[in-house]
């Protein structure tokens, strides 16, 4: 006879429930109702006569109830023992299979008639069919993020195969360490909970892409694998052999916002990851799903950069895609998507306290238009005083420019923050009237405040010039090689020293030659905020002392325009994401919508709830299921603009299908499909176990019946109501009895 174990020892904790009847018994003793009583003599006599029997009855019921709970806990924990040798019936040991399938998009590689993904599913199916009866399966997807497709053990092969059939791969990449974490959690959960799984096996079906599997060389992952090997057999099933792949790794629009009739300038890169093939390819540009041009791409050098221009006549959103046909067996990375918005003009609200001082800025924004009047120019400016700010409908503007505004109230700051968060742009430039401390207090209180920097001390007394910071930023990039534009020669005599928080989101567009930041920016929600350190459009001809000579400098107009376009482009770059990244946005609270509708590239329509934040006067939405590359159409964002498009692209790095050398696979992994029917050498076939759960449950049932009977016998049966006369026949007699 072997020792005793429990299939689920953790469930033994429920044995503590056996204390409940005893506690109830003790509690009941304290919960007597008080009642005055006259006929004590009969009670005392009855008690004297029955005390012993009553005590016995109480103890008997208590014993049965306690035993009942104790046995139930024991049965639930399922005690296991080695059977008596005379029985001698061998019992199979069951295996818990954790089947981990790499569902990153590299598995869609289809060199032959089947993709690696199809091959993986076939291998899984063959393993499941060959497994012993009683084995159970869990299914884990190794993509990013990893997930348990089947998180509870499935015993029936047909059920698992049905799940497998419905399982579609995603266009995500893969990560080894998080996948192993999930596997470890599942393994621990099920083997701890259920002692039947004395043996477990983890089988990974993967293309062994180096990008993913190089992680197995990291010490942390190695120790993780070692831990898993202690409690399960590890198998890896490498899929596929040779490979060739190229991908569209880049598709950039020169500007995500253009005006009607302007040329769309796009830059694309096609890169070959494999050593030899493919050498060339046919690339097709598509606008709104329709091919508009095609070009032969030479990949002899490993990559090719394409420049593309196209004129879009209609305002609104347009989808742009570059597709390379029959490039290689992995189709998903042979195309890339973008969304561009064609506008009829840029609408700017210029808030200023002194029209005279800001007139150069107005002219710079709208060179061909009148002062404050809407014209037909690309930039249409409307000028208001600070007191008129709240009267404006901000949603009708793309950019708000606070030029030399004395101060902003908290209410106005909150209002502007919501405007920016929902996709607007804000530019702040100081001046003589600006109370820097008020701006700091209201709009730069902490790191999450609207402005990316605080106005520090006023620097003056010398002449400063701009440092273009190697023209890295898109705003100043057009000035590269254009010395005559005068960006570097523009004299600045006064500026606020901008105090920048240590945040990567805060970027310096332009600096001074002494190292101080001249113009900084930060993305805020779906919008963008830019802060100047000096007055925009000042000149010594206008006042003395002047902040700078920008109004008279040739670089001012292009700088202002580059900034305006850059400021409002944030909203449109917001319409691009990588597979797996969420799509999100903010709606004005006035939009009385409770949900949006998202149409995925697979044609699946998903309803997305709109979460309302009354305190912040806004509503937000978020869609996380961007599992496939392509265009996502979001309906209901605005009552006027109809649907809005979002472009979701794959991570181009996953296109490198280089494989891990088999020799580098950790030694704990056995390579190849395991033989599910053959036991490993360490397994002891002669040590089957017998479960005592069934007899224990039978005993629990019997005790339940006994308890019910005893409760009826000792309680209810005595509590049958009877009329006084029925209870006391002698009373009936008394009423009839008479003298004589």
């Amino acid at each position: 006879m072997g020792g005793w174990t429990f299939a689920s020892p953790a469930l033994l904790g429920w044995a503590a429930a056996a204390a409940i009847p005893i506690l109830l018994h003790l509690l009941m003793r304290r919960r007597y109702r008080d009642s005055p009583w006259a006929a004590m003599q009969f009670l005392e006599a009855a008690l004297r006569r029955q005390a012993r029997r009553l005590r016995l009855e109480q103890w008997l019921v208590l014993l049965v109830r306690t035993l009942l709970l104790l046995l139930a806990a024991l049965a639930w924990a399922e005690p296991l023992s080695a059977p008596p040798s005379q029985i001698g019936l061998p019992q199979p040991r069951h295996t818990l299979w954790l089947l981990v399938v790499d569902d990153s998009y590299s598995m869609q590689y289809a060199a032959e008639e089947r993709s690696l993904w199809d091959e993986a599913k076939l291998q899984v199916a063959s393993l499941v069919r060959a497994a012993s009866s009683g084995d159970a399966f869990l299914l884990v997807a190794m993509g990013k993020p990893p997930r348990a497709v089947v998180s509870e053990p499935v015993y029936a092969a047909s059920d698992l195969l049905a799940q497998l059939d419905d399982w579609q791969p995603r266009d995500t990449s893969a990560e080894l360490a998080p996948a192993l974490n999930l596997v470890e959690q599942l393994l621990r959960r099920h083997t701890t909970r259920d002692a039947r799984w004395q043996q477990a096996a983890i089988c990974v079906f993967t293309d062994l892409q180096a990008l993913t599997w190089n992680a197995c060389q990291q010490p942390q992952v190695r120790s993780q694998i070692a831990r898993l090997a202690e409690s399960a057999r590890l198998h890896v099933v490498p899929l596929g052999s040779g490979w060739r792949n190229a991908a569209v790794t880049r598709l950039e629009l020169q500007s995500p916002v253009i005006l009607v009739g302007d040329q769309v300038h796009a830059l694309a890169e096609i890169r070959r990851f494999s050593a030899q093939e493919p050498r060339s390819a046919q690339a097709t540009w598509l606008v709104d799903g329709q091919p508009v041009s095609s070009v032969e791409v030479d990949l002899a050098t490993g990559s090719s950069v394409l420049n593309w221009s196209y004129r879009l006549a209609d305002p609104g959103q347009h989808t742009i895609a570059l597709r390379v046909e029959r490039l290689d067996p992995l189709e998903v990375d042979n195309q890339r998507y973008q969304v561009i918005t064609v506008r009829e003009g840029l609408r700017v609200l210029c808030v200023q306290a002194d029209p005279v001082k800001t007139r150069p800025l107005m002219w710079a924004m709208q060179p061909g238009g009148g002062d404050g009047a809407e014209g037909q120019a690309a930039v249409r400016v409307q000028s208001v005083t600070p007191s008129g700010l709240r009267d404006q409908e901000l949603n009708t503007f793309d950019v708000v420019w606070l030029a030399d505004v004395p101060e902003i109230s908290q209410e106005e700051a909150d209002w502007l923050a919501r405007f920016v968060e929902s996709g607007g742009a804000l530019i702040v430039s100081p001046g003589d009237l600006t109370q820097a401390s008020r701006f700091n207090d209201i709009m730069s209180r902490d790191k999450s405040s609207l402005l990316p920097a605080r106005f520090g001390t006023l620097v003056s007394g010398a002449e400063y010039h701009f440092d273009p910071l190697e023209y890295r930023h898109p705003v100043v990039r057009p000035f590269a090689g254009q010395e005559r534009a005068g960006l570097l020669t523009l004299p600045v005599w006064r500026y606020y020293k901008l105090e920048l928080p240590e945040e990567p989101q805060v970027r310096v567009l332009l600096a001074y030659d002494n190292g101080d930041a001249a113009i900084v920016e930060r993305d805020y929600g779906a919008g963008r905020v830019i802060v100047w350190s000096t007055a925009a459009g000042d000149s010594s001809a206008l006042r003395s002392p002047a902040w700078n000579e920008s109004a008279a400098w040739p670089s001012f107009v292009p700088l202002v325009h580059e900034m305006l376009w850059w400021a409002c482009s944030r909203h449109y770059t917001f319409h691009a994401a990588t597979v797996g990244e969420p799509l999100a946005g903010v709606l004005p609270l006035e939009a009385q919508r409770s949900e949006l509708q998202v149409l995925t590239p697979r044609g699946i329509s998903v309803k997305v709830p709109v979460e309302r934040h009354s305190a912040e006067q806004k509503a937000s939405w978020r869609f996380d299921e961007t599992w496939w590359s392509g265009w996502y159409r979001v309906e209901g964002l605005s009552a006027t603009s109809g649907a809005s498009w979002y472009a979701v692209n794959v991570d181009p790095a996953e296109g490198d299908l280089s494989r891990l050398e088999l020799s580098l696979i950790p030694s704990q992994f056995q390579q190849g499909l395991p033989d599910a029917g053959v036991r490993s050498a360490g397994e002891d076939e002669s040590a089957p176990t017998v479960s005592w759960a069934r007899p224990l449950w039978a005993a629990v049932l019997a005790l339940l019946l006994l308890e019910s009977f005893l409760a009826w016998r000792f309680g209810a049966a005595r509590a049958v109501k009877r009329s006084p006369v029925a209870v006391m026949p002698s009373l009936r007699g008394m009423t009839r009895w008479r003298l004589r």
């Binding site: 007597y32 109702r33 008080d34 009583w37 006599a45 006391m728 026949p729 009423t735």
Partner: protein, 302 residues
């Protein structure tokens, strides 16, 4: 006495049921008004009735010296007399009478009060005499027998003033009462009789042996009869400072056996000495008890 209490004593429904009925003793009391009954009172009549043994305090004028001469024993001569009926209402005022169970409309004492008041009114309404006595461990209050509306006031005042209190010793109280009742009459005892059954019977027998017509209304609460408590209960003794925490459902059978044995013993003992024992459960309307009782008494007159 409050008007409310008075109205309560003479509940119209009860009185309407009783109108026209007369309370008459069948064997021993003769009513002066009707002349139909013979009084058991041995008093100032010419017609000799019987002897009884002398007890200290008896009037020596009625000693039968001839018998003393013959037997050396002191006997009193007793004479038959034409008299009105005298109803002695004897109420138990021990603390146990204050009990009122969860299903009862009123306490046992309240019930006994009303029953006594109704009986007093009936008797006085027919120009008979009423006396009232209360007892617990011993005899406490005694209103001598008298008739007329003034006596009704006296009776009601006593009933109203007394509150149930203290333990009970039925036997001792009734024996004391038996020696103090001046005339024969109908002794109506209203009590739960919760004492030792033999002692109770001993006390009742003392009254009976004094040639009184004895009627006992055993006033009981429905809870005492049914003992239908469902929840664990701590019973606090009203007459004794004792508390018993029990599961009434488990103890019910034993309680009922004890209670039934007690009642059977009382019934049997009363039957043996010719005492009427009427169970008066407080949940029953008063007239449902009085009407059969008075009808029974009326039949015995004829």
């Amino acid at each position: 006495m409050s008007t409310t209490r008075l109205r309560e004593y003479f509940e119209p429904q009860t009185l309407a049921k009783l109108k026209g009925l007369r309370l008459r003793a069948q064997r021993l009391v003769e009513g002066l008004l009707s002349g139909l009954h013979r009084s058991p009172r041995r008093g100032f009549s010419i017609e000799f009735a019987e002897h009884r043994e002398y007890v200290p305090g008896d009037d020596l004028r009625y000693l039968d010296w001839k018998v003393f001469g013959r037997t050396d024993k002191l006997y009193l001569k007793q004479f038959e007399d034409e008299t009105n009926l005298i109803a002695y209402l004897v109420l138990d005022t021990s603390a146990g009478m204050a009990y009122q169970g969860p299903a009862a409309p009123w306490s046992k004492w309240h019930y006994a009060q009303c029953l006594a008041a109704a009986l007093a009114w009936l008797v006085l309404n027919h120009h008979d005499a009423v006396a009232v006595a209360t007892f617990d461990e011993r005899l406490r209050r005694f209103v001598p027998p008298a008739g007329g509306t003034g006596q009704l006031d006296n009776v009601l005042r006593v009933l109203d003033e007394v509150e149930p209190y203290g333990p009970t010793r039925v036997a001792q109280a009734l024996q004391e009462l038996a020696t103090r009742l001046p005339h024969r009459g109908v002794v109506i005892v209203l009590s739960d009789l919760f004492d030792d059954a033999e002692s109770v019977l001993h006390g009742l027998r003392a009254l009976r042996f004094a040639r009184h017509d004895v009627v006992v209304f055993q006033v009981l609460d429905p809870a005492e009869v049914e003992f239908d408590f469902q929840e664990p209960t701590r019973f606090l003794g009203l007459e004794v400072l004792r508390r018993l925490a029990v599961d009434p459902r488990a103890l019910r059978r034993g309680y009922m056996a004890e209670f039934r044995a007690f009642c059977d013993r009382l019934l049997d003992g009363c039957r043996r000495v010719g005492i009427e024992l009427w169970p008066a459960v407080t949940s029953r309307p008063l007239h449902e008890l009085l009407v059969p009782f008075l009808e029974r008494r009326a039949q015995r007159i004829v």
